[in-house]
């Protein structure tokens, strides 16, 4: 809610699937936080464990690509369900 107020995005706009002016920067900020978490995860992984944790590294890379696709490819036009990076998984 605080981020919504910072970027002047109303919850009604989200419910109505309207792209407010600050929606894209809001999503970009969230995506940047996610990328920061990815970088932090990569930094915390011990070097001897990189081979064993290769699936996680690959999954992190795939999610980073998905974030890049959402940002640069479609400018975070996510209110309409056209973007499905992995149809098998959904957030909760």
């Amino acid at each position: 809610m605080r981020d919504l107020r910072d970027f002047d995005v109303k919850p009604e706009d989200l419910s109505a699937a309207r792209y407010a002016e600050g929606f894209a920067p809001l999503m970009a900020r969230q995506a940047e936080r996610a990328r920061a978490a990815l970088r932090s995860a990569a930094a915390q992984l011990p070097a001897p464990q990189r081979r064993a944790q290769a699936p996680g590294i690959i999954l992190g890379g795939a999610v980073r690509d998905a974030a890049d696709e959402l940002g640069s490819g479609s400018d975070f036009r996510v209110l309409h369900p056209a973007h499905r990076a992995d149809p098998g998984y959904e957030s909760c």
Partner: protein, 506 residues
């Protein structure tokens, strides 16, 4: 039991050859098992005069007697008959079938009937100690012993059966690595007389001295000793004393035949082809396979829990089912034989009791850790993954234990994230709205970090840093997914956007 430290100087006493090196001498007192057999009598007195019998493969058995007066013969007329008829017949029979070590009948008899009362006790203990696989037939067991198919493990257990200390076990293990041992030396001093046993007929007295039938029993004992010993370089000497018989086990380093390695390899390959290329499965491999099987089953359960997201949410009842199945799989692992050494079964029982009723009892784990010794056991290493790393870490578990219990740690490390997810389910994780970013991070941790930890554990993570990496990675993935599903999230107000049926508000 007495271990002679001056064993290297006793080679002359046992008649060791020049190329043989005496490693150790172990004297073991064996009480008289059957008084009837060892009762004094004229037949037994006939043996008392023999001071030592030396047998080598290259020369026939030699008797060293103190003199004709100390060897009373109760049947004066029998000796010429034996020398003229019986002994040549035995020599001819021995010439036809040289060697009793590969005789299956002897092997079978030797294992079924405890005919080796003295020096053979050591050999029988090898079978009683389950040195060979029980699935094999008896003769196969002895053939396996003779052919050294089980290698150092057999020799080590054989040394244990003989009551040797640890350093001598290692010596025996090193000796057993010698290939194609062809020299052996047996000295039997004063073998008491025994009843005539039909089973002993199978032990052909091919090393009997000429002209004397009385040497058959020492020769049989020597043959049986060699045939049943754990390795041909373990030499047994028997001497009676007041209470029983003293078995002296003499370890000798024996020569390896030159140029026999290639033939041995070819024979081993031939036997491997006959077996169908399968390797014998030892206990450690069985335990490892059981762990892998349990891990595989657990992996299937977790993946089954992760794959269909439409039916899985924070309040889904399947969480408890997965948790119960996980605990049950751990129980099955114990029941299937995935156990550590016997001394640790008590701690394992404590750990098993902590999972009673499908729920983990943290107090039981805490009690197990508090009662643990300074040297952490494998059960304690398991508890590291059970969410209690601090006490065990303070005791600095040995690297060997960590390696030995790595798979178990992976198995048990599922407990903590499952418990965390169960806690999130019990608290009713909310999907939003969130007041600030910290609340969003907390939500992402509850719904994603346990799975990240579980996945990292499945991939072999046991260090806290890797678990932190998994949590951060899961947090990042969850945030990206939330950005991606923002439209559905906003459209599904009033219900969980994930399954659309639960009452989790958005």
């Amino acid at each position: 039991m007495r271990i002679d430290p001056e064993a290297a100087h006793q080679g002359d006493r046992f008649g060791a050859c020049a190329e043989q090196q005496v490693l150790s001498v172990v004297d073991r007192e064996v009480p008289i098992a059957d008084p009837k057999i060892d009762a004094p009598g004229p037949a037994a007195d006939r043996w008392r005069g023999i001071t030592s019998v030396t047998t080598t493969p290259s020369e026939p058995l030699r008797l060293r007697t103190p003199g004709p007066t100390s060897r009373p013969m109760t049947t004066q007329w029998a000796e010429p008959l034996v020398c003229a008829v019986i002994a040549p017949w035995h020599r001819a029979r021995a010439a036809r079938t040289p060697g009793a070590r590969g005789d299956q009948q002897l092997s079978y008899r030797g294992q079924r009937d405890a005919l080796m009362q003295h020096a053979e006790v050591a050999a029988l203990q090898l079978v009683q100690q389950r040195l060979v696989q029980r699935a094999q037939d008896d003769a196969g067991c002895w053939r396996a012993l003779r052919r050294r198919q089980l290698g150092g493990r057999r020799a080590q257990r054989g040394a244990r059966a003989l009551g040797l200390p640890g350093h001598q076990r290692r010596e025996t293990l090193r000796i057993a690595r010698c290939r194609q041992v062809f020299r052996f030396h047996v000295e039997v001093s004063q073998v008491p007389h025994r009843k005539h046993d039909p089973a002993r007929r199978a032990c052909r007295p091919h090393r009997a001295p000429s002209g004397s039938s009385v040497s058959r029993a020492p020769a049989r004992a020597a043959c049986a000793c060699v045939a049943g010993s754990t390795a041909p370089n373990i030499v047994a000497a028997i001497s009676p004393n007041g209470a029983g018989h003293k078995i002296t086990v003499l370890h000798q380093r024996v020569e390896s035949s030159n140029g026999a390695g290639s033939s041995n390899r070819s024979r081993r390959l031939q036997r491997k082809r006959e077996r169908g290329g399968r390797k014998p499965i030892d206990g450690q491999m069985r335990r490892q396979r059981a762990r892998n099987r349990v891990l595989g089953l657990l992996l299937e359960q977790v993946l089954d829990f992760l794959r269909p997201p439409a039916q899985t949410c924070a309040r889904d009842g399947r969480i408890g089912g997965v948790f119960d199945r996980f605990v049950q799989s751990r129980r099955n692992a114990y029941s299937a034989g995935c156990r550590a050494a016997r001394g640790r079964q008590k701690q394992q029982a404590v750990v098993g009791a902590g999972c009673d009723g499908g729920e983990l009892i943290p107090s039981v784990f805490d009690e197990a850790i508090e009662n643990a010794s300074d040297r952490p056991s494998r059960a304690q290493v398991w508890l590291v993954g059970a969410g209690n790393p601090a006490p065990v870490r303070a005791k600095a578990p040995a690297p060997g234990y960590a390696r030995a219990g790595a798979s178990s740690v992976r198995l048990w490390a599922f407990v903590r994230p499952v418990r965390a997810f169960a806690a999130s389910a019990a608290s009713g994780a909310r999907a939003g709205p969130f007041d600030d970013f910290d609340a969003l991070v907390q939500h992402c941790y509850l719904v994603a970090a346990p799975f990240g930890e579980m996945a990292a554990t499945m991939f072999g993570a046991v260090e806290p840093a890797t678990q932190a990496h998994a949590r951060e990675l899961a947090l990042a993935i969850q945030m990206i997914l939330m950005v991606r599903d923002a439209g559905r999230h906003a459209a599904g107000a009033g219900s969980c956007f994930r399954c659309g049926t639960c009452e989790t508000s958005t």
